[in-house]
């Protein structure tokens, strides 16, 4: 038994060098394999979740993301909805005024006025689930907003 343990110990120790080599040499393929096997994604609390609806306004698009209420085990009572305005050309119109259904209940939940030059945003809740502005996002061409919402399912 002692001899077997000894042989196994040395074998495991001798594998350390190939393991280090394999880690670095195969880094890209290991990383792709890791991503595909685990299926891990970055938390929607950071990414803003996936786009569920796109409204075409001709010179720009309004992209409404899935409401983020994701919790560790069940949904949370409060979350946010990310909305991003994306120009089709180089720039967004100077002013954007929209009534938006952000929760997906087929009625407008809030009215948004966005001055794309000063990045001033005014949000008017049209339902009790909309709580206010969580965060403004100013990208090079796009403008975004994270709207605090309460979970209608809770």
């Amino acid at each position: 038994m002692r001899r077997i343990k000894s042989v196994l110990g040395y074998a495991w120790a001798a594998l350390a060098l190939p393991m280090v080599l394999a880690t670095f040499i195969g880094m890209d393929s290991w990383a792709r394999g890791f991503a595909s096997i685990t299926g891990l994604q970055v938390s929607p609390w950071f990414t803003g979740a996936e786009v569920v609806r796109t409204l075409d306004h001709g010179e720009y698009e309004t992209r409404i993301h899935r409401p983020v209420f994701d919790g560790l085990i069940s949904e949370r009572g409060r979350g946010f909805v990310q909305v991003v305005w994306v120009p089709k050309g180089d720039t967004l119109p100077a002013m954007i005024d929209e009534d938006l259904d952000i929760i997906g209940d087929d009625r407008a939940d809030c009215r948004i006025s966005l001055d794309t030059r000063t990045n001033q945003i005014s949000l008017t809740p049209l339902c009790e689930n909309v709580l206010g502005v969580k965060e403004k996002l100013v990208f090079e061409k796009d403008r975004g907003l994270r709207i605090l919402v309460s979970n209608p399912r809770r």
Binding site: S6, G9, A16, V20, L40, Q41, V42, W45, F46
Partner: protein, 391 residues
């Protein structure tokens, strides 16, 4: 007479050390060149060549003198400072600022760091998401690559990663080596449980809040890398905490204790990695037949507080050992040594050391070599163009 006999024996020792170092020379050439033989500009060749020579000179000395920690430490410290320079200039070039904005987080432009890993485990298991604003694949220091690196390092080195791979640990180590005499001589052993408490705290709070709480509130290294832009009272408080912890844990306490205070008394990743020491083939053993437990030099000098009278009487170190090799170097009785688990304690100590330092040093050189050559490249750029940034 003695001069005549020592000269050939010294020459033999040099030749022997050179022969043992030769595989490292070849492996490090392969790893540092990235395995490519394509044409490169002189500005890229010089930093890699300097790093290659530096790394191999240190490895040769490690073999020649039989001292591990002394030369590991030098590379490790240089790597940490070069990391700060390379990382910050890269970020400034890519993002234009060290301050992390909501837009950077929304687009996954935050480089992933190994310290986050323990906090991601529970949320990843239950929600299949990583609670960090980085990118899964692609971009600078993406999440998948850092996980792969961590898995490889853990299997090969266990908590040895903290002494042979962590790009932050060298800062702590640098300050712990600056003073000749220590001011704080004894540390209550109960403090060594603090990292486990911090680990438990950040893992639970991160799972509950789905945010990396250690990075948001406690990471001292935010003070020298990237940080949230100060735009509110909350971010101001966070910044004050980061700077205070950096000064206390990375500069002042290591200076006073001559030990790695942040790594040994606070870091939750170190505590997490200590549990994973079990999967690695190597450990440090203290041969009870040789050690008389009188000098207690190793218990006073161990940078990670991993040696105590109790652990020595049990034949080795605590779980938290970082395999740095300091106790092996300083033990006057040669009682401490690297050991392959499952093998007899006194057997083949030299072979165990070689089996460990080859993968460990290769990891250090490959991981840290890019940081060192990157920093040399930036200095060359500054010297030749007047700007540290690429045109």
């Amino acid at each position: 007479m003695s001069t005549n006999s020592t000269a050939p024996s010294r020459a033999r020792k040099i030749v022997k050390a050179a022969l043992i170092s030769l595989p490292m020379l070849l492996l490090s050439a392969l790893m540092l060149s990235g395995g490519t033989s394509g044409e490169r500009e002189m500005m890229q060749i010089i930093p890699v060549a300097v790093t290659f020579l530096f790394a191999n000179a240190l490895f040769f000395l490690m073999i020649y003198t039989g001292k591990t920690d002394k030369y590991r430490s030098l590379f490790f410290i240089v790597m940490a400072f070069c990391f700060i320079l390379t990382f910050t200039t890269n970020l400034l070039e890519r993002r234009g600022s060290l301050a992390l904005t909501p837009e950077d987080m929304a687009t996954g432009k935050t480089p992933f760091c190994h310290i986050v890993i323990p906090m991601t485990v529970i949320p990843a298991a239950l929600t299949q998401t990583i609670i960090f604003p980085g990118s899964i694949l692609g971009g600078f220091a993406n999440i998948s690559s850092m996980f792969v690196l961590w898995i490889g390092a853990t299997l090969a080195l266990g908590r040895g990663f903290c002494s042979w791979g962590c790009f932050f640990g060298g800062l702590d180590e640098f300050f712990s080596r600056l003073r000749k005499r220590r001011i704080i001589k004894d540390v209550d052993p109960r403090w060594t449980y603090l990292p486990y408490a911090v680990l438990l705290g950040v893992v639970l709070t991160a799972a509950a809040s789905l945010t990396p709480t250690y990075c948001e509130w406690l990471c001292p290294y935010k003070a020298v890398t990237e940080f949230a832009a100060v735009t509110s009272v909350k971010t101001l408080i966070q910044t004050v905490i980061f700077i205070s912890l950096f000064i206390a844990l990375v500069i002042v306490l290591p200076l006073l204790m001559k030990r790695r205070a942040q790594c040994g008394l606070f870091c939750p990743f170190g505590a997490f990695q200590a549990f994973l020491n079990k999967v690695c083939a190597f450990e440090v053993k203290v041969n009870g037949e040789v050690c008389k437990e009188k000098c207690r030099l190793c218990t006073q000098e161990c940078p990670s507080f991993s040696l105590s009278r109790e652990s020595i009487s049990n034949g080795g170190t605590r779980l938290s050992c970082m395999l740095c090799g300091k106790c092996v170097d300083i033990c006057p009785h040669k009682a401490a040594g690297y050991h392959v688990k499952g093998t007899p304690v006194a057997a083949r100590a030299g072979a165990a050391r070689m089996l460990f330092i080859y993968p460990a040093y290769l990891f250090l050189v490959t991981f840290g070599g890019g940081m060192i050559s990157g920093a040399i490249y930036r200095v060359l750029l500054l010297a030749t163009t007047g700007s540290i940034f690429r045109a």
